[in-house]
């Protein structure tokens, strides 16, 4: 544990061991240290919010847990199983699903097809059966389509069932991405800024959806969010990162009182504002404003491919 406040609020464990436990995670891109010695626990069935200013390393944490990044040091324990690194596919098999900061839906496919891809790991038929449309192919297709339809209903996406996702509004695309993750029936759901760039009502319905997932399906959720109101409303547990370190860890109220958190927040708010003025690719600090995020985060994705050597600012954009 990095800070006294964190160890102080070492949240009381239930009968089970924590579902997720990070220990001494470090990660650096070239010269930029994204994460330095981060450790925290996530209990089963809780909603844990990871907050912090831009460049605090929030997204990097999610990317490490879901196997997209490989940490330079430290380990992740999921469901009692400790590991230093895993491939994305393996984490999926373990029951971890996620959404991305810059929407990562399959734009060329319909909403239903997107949800169907979420069930891919449970699909019990060989490609040959599917090609010849024989054997288990039909049964599997029927089962998974039904499952996907349940998710579709759960998220009230029926009106868009066959619409190409690329043509949907931003908020809906986020919803579809959530649906794809849900279709995998995960134990742990990682949400990277699920409400970025949404208007008030979209945020409202999204937080309701998240709460429903947590309550009705009992899914454990770790989410990154900038909107403090949302965070305080829906999360049971808040972890605050700053410059790649944990500066706060506890219940929303505990965190609210925590002095270092406030300092980190106010301090870095200023610094973040500067980076923003420096680089177009920089992300937005809270409260996020829809148009601005749409403007900034969408190109940020293309910048990732175009820019060979990302400047610190643009890395910050994605963390």
């Amino acid at each position: 544990m990095s800070t006294p406040s964190a160890s102080a609020s070492a949240a009381p464990q239930g009968a089970h061991p924590p579902l997720l436990e990070l220990q001494g995670i470090r990660l650096a891109f070239k010269a930029v240290r994204a994460v330095e010695d981060v450790s925290f626990k996530v209990r089963r069935h809780e909603i844990c919010a990871v907050i912090g200013p831009n460049g605090a390393g929030k997204s990097s944490i999610l990317n490490i847990v879901s196997g997209v990044y490989r940490p330079d040091a430290g380990s992740v324990a999921f469901d009692g199983e400790r590991r230093s690194h895993m491939l994305p596919r393996q984490t999926a098999q373990q029951g971890i699903a996620r959404t991305f900061q810059n929407i990562a839906v399959f734009k060329g496919m319909s909403v239903l097809e997107n949800l169907l891809t979420g069930t891919t790991l449970r699909f019990e038929s060989s490609w040959l059966e599917q090609l010849l449309w024989l054997g288990r192919a039909k049964g599997a297709e029927r089962r998974e389509r039904e499952h996907a339809e349940r998710v579709l209903e759960f998220l009230e996406l029926q009106p868009y069932r066959d619409a190409p996702v690329g043509r949907l509004a931003y908020g809906l695309q986020k919803r579809v991405e959530l649906g794809r993750a849900l279709a995998a029936a995960p134990q742990l759901l990682l949400l990277d800024e699920p409400m970025a760039g949404m208007n008030a009502s979209e945020k409202q319905s999204m937080s309701e959806a998240i709460l429903d997932v947590n309550r009705q399906l009992g899914t454990t959720i770790v989410l990154i969010e900038h909107d403090m109101r949302v965070v305080m409303d829906i999360s049971d547990h808040v972890v605050v990162l700053d410059h790649g370190r944990v500066v706060g860890d506890g219940t929303p109220d505990e965190v609210r009182q925590n002095p270092d958190v406030l300092r980190a927040y106010l301090g870095s708010r200023r610094q973040a504002a500067q980076t923003q003025s420096q680089s177009a690719a920089s992300d937005i600090t809270d409260p996020p404003d829809a148009s601005a995020i749409l403007a900034a985060s969408a190109p940020a994705a293309s910048a990732a491919s175009a820019a060979p050597a990302p400047s610190p600012a643009s890395i910050a954009a994605s963390t």
Binding site: R98, F100, F106, E113
Partner: protein
Amino acid sequence: MLYSEAGQLSTDYLHGARRFRLRQERLEVLAVLVIAFVAVPAFADDYWLTAILIPFSILALAGLGLNLLTGFAGQLSVGSAGFMAVGAYTAYNVLLRLPGVPLLLAFALGGVAAAIAGVLAGLPSLRIKGFYLVVTTLAAQFFIEWVFTRFRWFSNDNASGLVSVPRLVVLGRDASSPLGRYLLTLSVVVALTALALNIPKSELGRRWMAVRDMDTAAAVIGIPVLRTKLLAFAISSFYCGVAGALWGFTYLGTFDPRAWELSRSFQILFIIIIGGMGSIMGSFLGSAFMLLVPIAMSHAGSALLGGSVDQGAIENYKKILFGLLIVAFLIREPGGLARLLRRARDRARIWPLRSW
């Protein structure tokens, strides 16, 4: 095409996985098949059969193969012609060296050999993406060309390097007549197309499209990206291989490696760009376009300029025209002819309304 969907209620999730969802679409397809199998043989003359319809359906099949890889799985390849050559030479040597093997089986083996070649060419896609694949598939193209030119064994050690295919016998019946070759080609193409139509609505196709649209996300939801890509290479190349075998056997009859040079690969790539990436039917539209436009041009040319028309010039204008078309389609309608058709259909479906 003024559809009425009344009463077509889907009561089973498999209806959503149908090749053609609406009754009307199924009827249209049926009509096309009847025309192809009954009307055409009744009316078409040998020129149309051998010079247009056979190459049309074969190129459509090859285009379909490439479309599976590029249009659905998002892996660009300029080695299609190479894989076609593998199919043709394999089929030839199977028939030559393993007497008693039925023709269709030889074609299938040609496809399998091509599939293997395809997987090998696809292996680098483990490490590399996008147009880097152009390089590896080009490598495959050149290597294959070289192998078949260099090692005469494949062409039965005959000095000219030309090989002539044996009589075409299917199920004991001779299929060497123009009509026979047409029907043989058509049957193979239709059968393989029917199979391909299963792909977009199946998990197989969804995995491909997922990898195409966003491979990181695909990996995160548990899709084995490399295996998926390789499978795409295998199946795609199988189609190209069979197409190659048909090209050699039912279209050319006598061939050497030059039948499958790089330009053929580009031709097939153009077929799917113009016809429509990610659309099975697009491959057919593109192929028809690719074959008919040049013919129309030379006819128009000789009609306008009288007999004295320089074929070289025609060639140039053909090139320019296709180049312009490629660019135009990529800019205006990446979905190609298939998308244009679909659009027209959807508009007709809700006319006079603009949206519904």
